[in-house]
């Protein structure tokens, strides 16, 4: 199997699916001729032409609104939002329209699109090229939310997302776009939506993460191991609907849990996971579930590495929770 980075794996999935299914179209800012500001759609314009890989005017609302219309017509649009920080001009189309279309029409009009967008910090992008807005979409009923942590999952999850009957927000952790490399099957395969993966087996404490922070958790887990704490690392992969079984199983095993995410702490997905664990495994808890997250401030530029929940911030919480 060839080695690919995340960008290549996502590009591979898009190419494969566009060859297989002529209904798939890509639209967005700079996705065409230049292949996207991160080059994720590179080469697709050349292969599929301007009708299927479409540079649009500078309007996220227009991109998503038009994509919804295309979906109602029977196409399978995979719009790109250049940075997830710029998704908000389209927020009304996503939460008021896309999320509710199937429901409000009694099933007559499913509006299935996959919104691809780079997420998270790590490129010194400051307030507006670094945010992780997943919980702002998870709270809204009707959207599936996915975030892969490695090239093989990225390809398989994207193919699953495009073939899923429901709208999907597909968050691509830009910090590891090129840095995360691995073997990727060249063929057609999917990774199921709604299933987490155990990235590291452990028995003392569970850490739940996704995307770029997974690697920070693994790093912290290795450091914890040196101190005799055996950490289990769960890679959520699908952020909604959560793999609640995997979470509960792991927490029942370890009795201790830490959730890690880049987004601000308050009303982030971490809080929801803690509340769900309370509901489903309260009597198994041997320590208070903890969160290591971005702070409740805008995402800063110079102090980016102080803001992010990197391994040095995760480790103490892991140890505390394990030793509670």
């Amino acid at each position: 199997m060839p080695q690919m980075n995340m960008v290549q794996a996502i590009n591979d999935a898009l190419r494969l699916e566009m060859r297989r299914d002529s209904r798939v179209v890509i639209l967005g800012e700079d996705v065409g001729k230049v292949g996207g500001v991160f080059r994720v759609t590179a080469g697709l314009f050349d292969e599929f032409g301007d009708d299927r890989v479409i540079d649009t005017p500078l309007s996220e609302g227009g991109i998503i609104g038009a994509a919804i219309g295309m979906a109602l017509y029977g196409l399978v649009p995979v719009p790109e939002i250049q940075f997830s920080d710029f998704i908000f001009p389209a927020y009304d189309q996503i939460v008021s329209e896309l999320a509710k279309y199937r429901y409000r029409s009694g099933g007559e009009y499913p509006a299935k699109i996959v919104i691809r967008t780079p997420v998270g910090g790590g490129i010194r992008g400051g307030h507006y090229h670094s945010q992780s807005p997943e919980s702002l979409f998870i709270h809204v009923a009707g959207l599936k939310v996915v975030c892969p942590s490695n090239p093989a999952d990225a390809k398989g999850l994207l193919l699953a997302s495009i073939r899923d009957p429901d709208p999907v927000l597909f968050f691509e952790p830009k910090r590891i776009y090129r840095a995360a490399k691995g073997e990727v099957d060249e063929g057609d395969y999917t990774v199921p939506i709604g299933k987490a993966a155990i990235a590291r087996d452990g028995k003392d404490v569970t850490v739940i993460a996704w995307g770029a922070m997974l690697y920070e958790c693994l790093e912290a887990a290795n450091q914890a191991a040196e101190q005799g704490v055996d950490v289990e690392v769960l890679d959520l992969r699908t952020l909604w609907p959560l793999d609640i079984e995997a979470i509960v199983a792991s927490v029942k095993k370890t009795g201790r849990v830490v959730v890690v995410h880049e987004a601000p702490k308050t009303c982030g997905l971490g809080g929801e996971i803690v509340a769900l664990i309370n509901e489903k495994a309260f009597l198994h808890l041997e320590a208070p579930p903890a969160r290591v997250t971005g702070f409740d401030t805008p995402f800063p530029y110079t102090l980016e590495n102080e803001y992010l929940p990197l391994a040095h911030r995760i480790l103490p919480t892991l140890l505390e929770t394990a030793r509670y």
Partner: protein, 394 residues
């Protein structure tokens, strides 16, 4: 300790305080329709302007007349049902029937319609069954929207009617995407997108027209300029002299039409469909008309506009104007309206009786269609709800 619930308001309530307001503006002078650029067909007397006449077959003209009268009667009945507390809400089209029915008539069967909320007439003209509509209005178990949406938020895929949404303007961009999708697939069809004058201020008006202008999507944008967005008059909506000229900003040809002249509306819409069919892209139509009633059953317009302004518009009533055209040709007699009313009355009575007697949607149904298949959390929530107690009075 638990206060009674206030279910009275989606919209405006009549002002209780008498106030010394500056005289409210007229918001669209009826004489605007006399401007030279406004397309008209019906002339006083029974003649038509031969340069613009779309030459609609007499049987079709009569069908449209009937549809206008029926639509007005249906509005009246729904309003009465709302006043009686039997239906939660209704938003009618009094005075705007010609704009709605004329434009819908001009679209071909294969074409699609993206309504705002005030174009029931378009759906009915396409054949949406009255029973389907009333089941929706009562939000009962047979409502195709499964009782999930407010009244007048229907959809009807078989009739190529998209799903009505409350947020203003959202359907405009979607209509453009739909039409653009057809164009990408090399399917020749046109899409009619309805919206009001207020909607021209929305983000989505801008996005929709901009994308349509760039990608030459086969869309007919129909702006019902009825003078008001709830209590806000058109002068407060835009600094431009007309809504039609907004097309210039997007490279979209546009036209103003006398929206109370159904033949003129048919003419300009047919022209727009022909442009779309020739691959020339979108057209913006501004139909000059007037919202003769309140915004909806929740609104009392006396709080913000003078009754006087209405009088001039009553002269321009689209039904009366078509009647004045039909009568001399003996296509209309006093008996015509009575017959229409009698027939409709029977249909309505039956449909209302059935709709009202049909029970509410099941608890289960509340959890369907959020996703294609309910995930674990919705299954859990559904089962918990079904096991638990029901609210008082259910």
């Amino acid at each position: 300790m638990r206060p009674a619930i206030d279910t009275s308001a989606y919209g405006i309530h009549a002002s209780s305080t008498a106030s010394e307001r500056p005289a409210p503006s007229a918001a669209r002078n009826p004489h605007d329709t006399e401007a030279p650029d406004v397309v008209k067909v019906l002339r006083e007397g029974d003649t038509l302007d031969p340069t613009t006449d779309p030459r609609v077959a007499p049987a079709d003209v009569l069908r449209l007349y009937t549809a206008m009268v029926r639509l007005r009667l249906i509005d009246e009945r729904l309003t009465a049902l709302q006043r009686q507390g039997r239906v939660g809400f209704h938003i009618g089209s009094l005075g705007e029937e010609a704009s709605i029915l004329g434009s819908a008539f001009a679209m071909r069967d294969k074409d699609w319609i993206f309504p705002c909320y005030r174009e029931l007439g378009a759906a009915l003209l396409r054949g949406m069954p009255l029973q389907r509509y009333l089941d929706h209005m009562f939000g009962n178990e047979n409502d195709p929207a499964k009782g999930r949406q407010m009244p007048d938020h229907y959809s009807w895929k078989a009739g190529h009617i998209a799903s009505v949404s409350s947020p203003i303007g959202t359907q405009i961009t979607q209509a453009v995407g739909f039409a653009w999708g057809a164009k990408i697939k090399r399917d020749e069809l046109a899409v009619l997108a309805y919206f009001g004058d207020g909607a021209t201020s929305s983000n989505e008006f801008h996005n929709g027209l901009n994308f349509a202008g760039v990608f030459k999507a086969p869309v007919v944008f129909l702006c019902r300029n009825n003078g008001w967005a709830i209590s806000v008059p058109t002068e407060r909506q835009t600094g431009s002299a007309t809504f039609a000229e907004k097309g210039i900003a997007y490279g979209i040809p546009s036209v103003r039409v006398d929206g109370n002249d159904i033949l003129a509306v048919i003419k300009v819409t047919q022209d727009a469909v022909a442009r779309a069919a020739r691959g020339e892209g979108p057209t913006l139509i501004e139909a000059l008309t007037y919202r003769m009633s309140g915004h909806s059953t929740s609104d009392d317009p006396r709080a913000y506009r003078p009754e006087a302004g209405l009088e001039a518009w009553k002269e321009l009533d689209p039904i009366a104007r078509l009647r004045r055209h039909l009568a001399p040709q003996k296509l209309w007699t006093e008996a015509t309206d009575a017959a229409i009313e009698a027939e409709l009355e029977a249909e309505l009575k039956a449909a209302i009786a059935v709709a009202e007697a049909t029970r509410a949607p099941s608890l289960d149904s509340m959890f369907d269609d959020v996703f294609a298949t309910p995930p674990w959390h919705l299954v859990e929530q559904r089962e918990a709800l079904k096991k638990g107690p029901r609210p008082k009075g259910h």
